[in-house]
């Protein structure tokens, strides 16, 4: 395997994983409150196009990231109103969100493919990124990447060690009991859904502004679905979502490098490998009965209608 430098591979892996990681950590919180939002792909791609359009027009990547978050959040709010207030089926509504998001993003992005987004500056001085081996791996990234890891830590802490986390988990395990205890089930779920939307939108904006630095129709190419798979892989545990995302990023970065290196495997086989490996991992995780059954939120996907 000539021409594949492990350090650049690790750097690429981190960049490739971050959009999926952001979307997955948002969806993890949503699912912890007992809501299954299959619209991650739609929110991501809308975040990607809005982030890109705003970044190109204002010249500010930060505003781009914020626009991506806001648009993901706006879309998630449609999902929230439909599923929480109008009690629609979560699977169908999530699919609708994805189909709508793919159309909307293509519409908003007309005329933008090929534009150049502003360069995102790194938070650490360039000298630090030049330290051999650990420099590029630890200090050579944009701020969003550090934020994504901090976000994982924050979600892990909040879910596991705070009262808010306890309430979130109670709502996700048994919404009727949580309601009887006086917790505002719908309000909590709506806020989680919007958090998930903001995360997915930020992931999308990172994809278009930082990773690809372009807008292409359908550019998320299933990243939202892979994020959903990652939540299952992680058994709803934040740090395992990080592990899963980097694993997935590693496979993707490696197959891209192998394609470029012209190795003797058909390009199509390499290109389908991230999806196939995601399926294989899903199978391994779900075949272990004890693990998934114990961690999946009990009220996941169920409609809550307070009668009292």
């Amino acid at each position: 395997m000539m021409g594949i430098d492990p350090i650049t591979l690790i750097v690429a892996l981190i960049t490739v994983s971050t959009p999926v990681l952001l979307a997955a950590i948002g969806e993890l919180v949503v699912e912890k409150t007992g809501v299954l939002n299959l619209g991650v792909e739609g929110m991501m791609i809308t975040g990607a196009v809005m982030g890109f359009v705003v970044a190109v027009n204002t010249g500010s990547p930060t505003l781009g990231f914020l626009a991506g978050m806001a648009s993901g959040m706006a879309l998630s709010l449609i999902f929230g109103v439909l599923t929480q207030l109008l009690l629609s089926n979560q699977v169908a509504t999530g699919l609708a969100l994805t189909l709508f998001g793919l159309g909307l993003s293509a519409l908003l992005g007309v005329g933008y493919p090929g534009s150049t987004p502003p360069v995102v500056s790194d938070p650490f001085p360039a000298a630090m990124a030049e330290i051999p081996v650990i420099g590029p791996i630890l200090f050579g990234h944009s701020l969003v990447i550090y934020l994504s890891v901090l976000l994982v830590a924050a979600v892990w802490y909040v879910l596991g060690y705070t009262k808010m986390g306890l309430i979130i988990r109670a709502v996700g395990e048994n919404h009727d009991a949580a309601h009887a205890l006086g917790y505002k089930v719908i309000r909590i779920r709506l806020m989680a859904i919007m958090f998930g939307g903001a995360c997915a939108g930020l992931g999308g904006a990172f994809l278009s502004i930082v990773r690809v630095q372009n807008w292409v129709d359908g550019m998320t190419a299933g990243a939202g679905w892979i994020a959903l798979a990652l939540v299952v892989f992680a058994s709803w545990k934040p740090w395992r979502a990080l592990l899963g995302a980097y694993l997935f990023g590693g496979v993707t970065a490696l197959q891209l490098r192998l394609q470029a290196a012209g190795i003797d495997i058909p390009v199509e086989i390499l290109a389908m490998s991230p999806y196939v490996i995601t399926i294989v991992v899903l199978v391994i995780m779900s075949s272990d009965k004890s693990r998934t059954a114990l961690n999946a939120p009990a009220a996941l996907g169920k409609v809550f209608h307070a009668t009292g």
Binding site: A92, A96, A106, L107, L282
Partner: protein, 361 residues
Amino acid sequence: MLRLEKRPAPSRAWTAATPVLAVVLTMIAGGIMFALLGKNPFEAIRIIFWDPLFHESFAAYSRPQLLVKAGPLILIAIGLALGFRAGVWNIGAEGQYIMGAIAGASFGLAFYPSESPLIFPGMIIAGALGGWAWSMIPAILKTRFRTNEILVSLLLVYVAEKFLASAATGFLRNPEGHGFPGSRNLSRIESMNNPELISGTGMHWGIVAAFIAVITAYVLLNKHVLGYQIKLAGQAPRAARFAGVNPNRLIVLCLGMSGALAGLAGLFEVSGPAGQISIDFNVGYGFTAIIVAFLGRLHPIGILLAGLLMALTYIGGELAQLMLQIPAPAIQAFQGMLLFFLLAVDVLSTYRIRFKKEGVA
């Protein structure tokens, strides 16, 4: 204060009225979207919903297109609806559609240049088997390992798309095509052609198959024990298990049927309107069929009507692109909106809205 009260049984009147209401709301919201794009909303809606059928110069071309586009949508949606009713979520019909087309085309091209009349029937069987086999992957993973069929079937769409790319540029590439990607043109080979059966109507074998599927699904759901089991499993999974319904058998059957129907749709498309296996011959019918299934209330006759309506938005969308320069993706957003509104107004059929004063117990 508004509150929702669950109806003892879904209202029949509202169940029939909600799709119409959703279409009207979508027209209003879509009109606003077109106005934001700087187009005349009334003109845009007229071009999408009226002109394809009744415009004096376009209708002659558009009307046959209605069946051409509705055929695959109905065929796929019928299969999906059976699964959705049973709580089996196959959302990877697009992949099964691609694999059916590849399997059917491969069968036909393997015998090139034979002119045997058995080739086209063989292609139909191969197409159905191709889609069926692709849907068996999520089915077996679901029944054996309890793996979520939503994620697996969807992820397999991307795998199928890569496989399509390798077919179009590799093993199915036209050897006389000067190196361009894409297979031989099946619609120009007598033994593999899926012809227009009645000139000027757009009617081809795929649409015949769609009608047969509608009738079969209707009988299955209303007269056959399997249809009863499908409905029971969807509405009361626990009761179904006590009644002796084998959930695994139902998963395999529902995914298998929808996969085979999607495969058939792919084969008829590739041997007729699309003509050849090319990198992007698939235009997303597998995803739009999800909207068709819901818009048709998962009911065969409803799906027939919904398929025709959705086909109309495709054709009208192309017309609007031509006449008003409305970008093509606007129609995709429009179709997505339709599903949103449908799900939103659905609350009226299962719940009653009550006005209640605060503080009254």
